[in-house]
């Protein structure tokens, strides 16, 4: 197992040959094979094999510190932003390696979007600008009508349009927490990702906002593959088709204990540790 040198490969090159506004884009599948991660010399993840099928919602569950967030961050090359981080293994999007392949890292991240735990709309931008931020950051020119369409369609997909259609000129942070998180989802959707990674997107939100986000997830799962990290068992059951249970023994790297259809993981787990975890006996 050789670790990948992430610093040398095309950090800033980018190609703009993918039409971002192409409505015919399809959700893509992600395949992780034998992924291992290190922070410095500490190995935090080992032997992860996971298939995330196109158009499906995959939930990653497990106690804190078991490496599920780290794994999520390897899926769109955010892991390497930590200076000491390295990894090994292979991650394919529709069969193309995202680390060794020909896709520039900026394109990888555009095709595999991410929503973070804390809502983080750009403070210096308005609601509308936040939605369009991805285009601006990729240096893409758009016409006014394209922009208007994109703002409306993305905010609608994120279930926010009706609440903010008269507030598009307000600063992004003037919205409530739940609205901000949905704004972040709309922002991610604006660059037409094929996969959307969500790192505990509801952990900072109230139950009503959580319900709205879950609704959004089930709606967008038709157009993007969703991978979601969650600590909430009910949420995993409500939103996901498949589920992967991560666990790390003390001073050992985390690994996947069990993976399969959500129904089986919760009602008929094969491993006793999974059974204990999903029934709330630890973690």
């Amino acid at each position: 197992m050789t670790s990948i040198d992430i610093t040398s490969s095309d950090r800033t090159t980018m190609s703009s040959d993918i039409s971002l506004l192409d409505p015919g884009h399809k959700a893509a599948g992600l395949t992780a094979t034998n992924v291992a991660c290190w922070f410095g010399t500490k190995k935090v993840l080992e032997g992860v094999n996971l298939d995330m099928a196109p158009g499906q919602v995959t939930a990653l569950i497990g106690p804190s510190g078991c490496g599920k967030s780290t794994f999520l961050r390897t899926l769109n090359r955010m892991h390497e932003l930590v200076p000491s981080a390295t990894l090994a293994g292979e991650i394919l999007i529709d069969g193309v390696d995202i680390y060794r392949g020909a896709i520039p890292v900026t394109d990888v991240r555009r095709r595999i979007g991410m929503v973070f735990q804390k809502p983080n709309p750009f403070p210096a931008m308005t609601v509308a600008e936040n939605v369009l931020a991805g285009l601006k950051l990729s240096g893409l020119k758009t016409t006014r009508s394209e922009r208007d369409d994109l703002i409306e369609s993305c905010l609608s997909k994120a279930g926010l349009w009706n609440e903010v259609k008269n507030r598009l000129g307000d600063p992004g942070r003037a919205l409530s927490g739940g609205q901000q998180q949905r704004l972040c989802i709309a922002r991610s959707l604006a660059v037409s990702p094929q996969v959307l990674l969500m790192d505990e997107p509801c952990s900072a939100l109230d139950p009503t906002s959580t319900r709205r986000i879950e609704q959004t997830i089930s709606e967008i799962s038709e157009i993007v593959t969703v991978v979601i990290v969650t600590h909430n068992m009910q949420q995993a059951q409500r939103v996901s088709n498949r589920c992967a249970f991560f666990l790390a023994a003390e001073n050992e790297p985390g690994r996947i204990i069990e993976e399969g259809p959500t129904k089986d993981i919760f009602s008929n787990p094969r491993d006793p540790r999974t059974n204990d975890y999903v029934n709330g006996r630890f973690g």
Binding site: R11, T12, M14, N76, M78, L81, P83, T106, D107, R109, R110, G113, M114, F116, K118, N120, F122, P123, A124, M125, T126, A128, E129, L132, A133, G134, K136, L137, S138, G139, R144, R147, D148, I151, L168, G169, P171, G172, R173, A174, C184, R187, S188, V191
Partner: protein
């Protein structure tokens, strides 16, 4: 029907508010006032007795110190008797902290008051319009004579900012966003640079720009000397401001497929904008009063020279430095007025910095609103 209902409702709430008696949480009790006044009076009497009658010394400062010490002792004992040890210690600490705060503010007010008192007399419009071509040492100070120095200062500081601000912010971006191998040595150099005595900055430019390269003393030489002092200040403060931008925003930008450059230019810098502007203005306010680096570099002049590139120029602090030692009263007067103008310039810069710094990153300026409207985004 509904209106009457509403009015009755309003009336009842109003009545309720009026009848409700609020607890007075922050009121000062009469006893405390009496204790403090009593302590102050008895401390005054005691120190008068000791200082004026018993001891063979006198003087206002000694009396005040004596009074302060006695007041602390008496009031602490009184509070101790009245409310116990904990309250007494609390009282003593409060008095010390008050004294500390006052001790810091009083000299500032004294300096300001002194400069205003000395300088306001000659602060006439002519001071800003006349140089000393026709107004000389023998003419009245109210006839002005500071225009050349004001123009010189504004030009020198302006050019110094043009050099230092882009360089400083770029360096701060390197230190905080790019983080290369040179980060540590660079930060050390910047630290060392900010400790350079200002006269050394002037000497350096004198040796390098004037002696070695054979240039004359001029405004630009002064600007370079000021830039040497300005650069580390603006770099360090900008770096601190950039560090305050949450890392989550950078991650969000990169996760959208942004390059590092666009992340910095479109997300990090706009978010830190108000802080950066404040940093720059405070830096300007600091170098605008520097005298030492200018003594060797600008040369000093009595007439207007608005060309910073050639010929000797004057600067406000240098103007003050020279004129205060003139035998003629009018020139000394002008020096004080120059000092006052300098103080006013700094004050204006501080007020602007406070106004901009108080705005959050999500403040949308009128200019930006107009731009958004044009794009159809508002």
């Amino acid at each position: 029907m509904t209106t009457t209902l509403n009015t009755t409702l309003n009336n009842t709430t109003e009545n309720k508010i009026n009848t409700e008696e609020r607890i007075k949480i922050r009121d000062i009790e009469m006893v405390d006032v009496i204790v403090m006044t009593g302590s102050a009076i008895s401390a005054f009497a005691l120190s008068y007795f000791f200082f004026q009658i018993l001891l063979p010394v006198s003087g206002a400062l000694g009396f005040l110190v004596c009074w302060y010490v006695f007041f602390n002792i008496i009031s602490t004992v009184a509070v101790w008797e009245l409310r116990g040890a904990v309250k007494a210690k609390d009282h003593l600490a409060r008095v010390f902290i008050w004294t500390g705060g006052m001790a810091a503010v009083v000299p500032l007010i004294l300096v300001l008051g002194y400069v205003i008192g000395k300088g306001y007399h000659s602060l006439r419009p002519q001071f800003f319009t006349q140089d000393q071509k026709y107004v000389g040492a023998l003419s009245k100070s109210t006839e002005g004579g500071g225009a050349h120095a004001i123009v010189g200062t504004l030009e020198q500081v302006g050019i110094a900012s043009l050099i230092s601000v882009p360089l400083g912010i770029t360096t701060a971006v390197y230190l905080n966003e790019v983080k290369g191998r040179l980060t540590k040595p660079l930060r050390m150099i910047i630290d060392a640079m900010s400790a350079v005595p200002s006269i050394v900055a002037g000497l350096f430019i004198y040796a390098a720009w004037i002696l070695a390269l054979g240039n004359q003393q001029s405004g630009i030489a002064g600007s370079l000397a000021l830039a040497v002092l300005f650069l580390p200040t603006v770099t360090r403060t900008s770096e601190v401001v950039l560090r305050l931008v949450p890392g989550g925003l950078r991650e969000a930008s990169l996760a959208l497929g942004g390059t590092e450059w666009r992340t910095t230019s479109r997300v990090v810098l706009p978010t830190a904008k108000s802080g950066l502007v404040t940093a720059v203005i405070l830096g300007v306010a600091r170098v605008i009063g520097e005298t030492a680096p200018l003594i060797l570099t600008v040369g000093g002049a009595f007439v207007m020279n608005s060309n910073p590139l050639s010929g000797k120029q004057d600067a406000l602090p240098y103007f003050v430095f020279r004129l205060i030692r003139f035998p003629q009263e009018a020139q000394v007067q002008r020096a004080w007025t120059g000092a006052l103008v300098l103080v006013i310039l700094v004050l204006v810069l501080f007020v602007i910095a406070r106004a901009i710094g108080g705005r959050g990153p999500d403040h949308i300026s009128r200019l930006k609103k107009r731009r958004l409207k044009r794009k159809g985004l508002a």
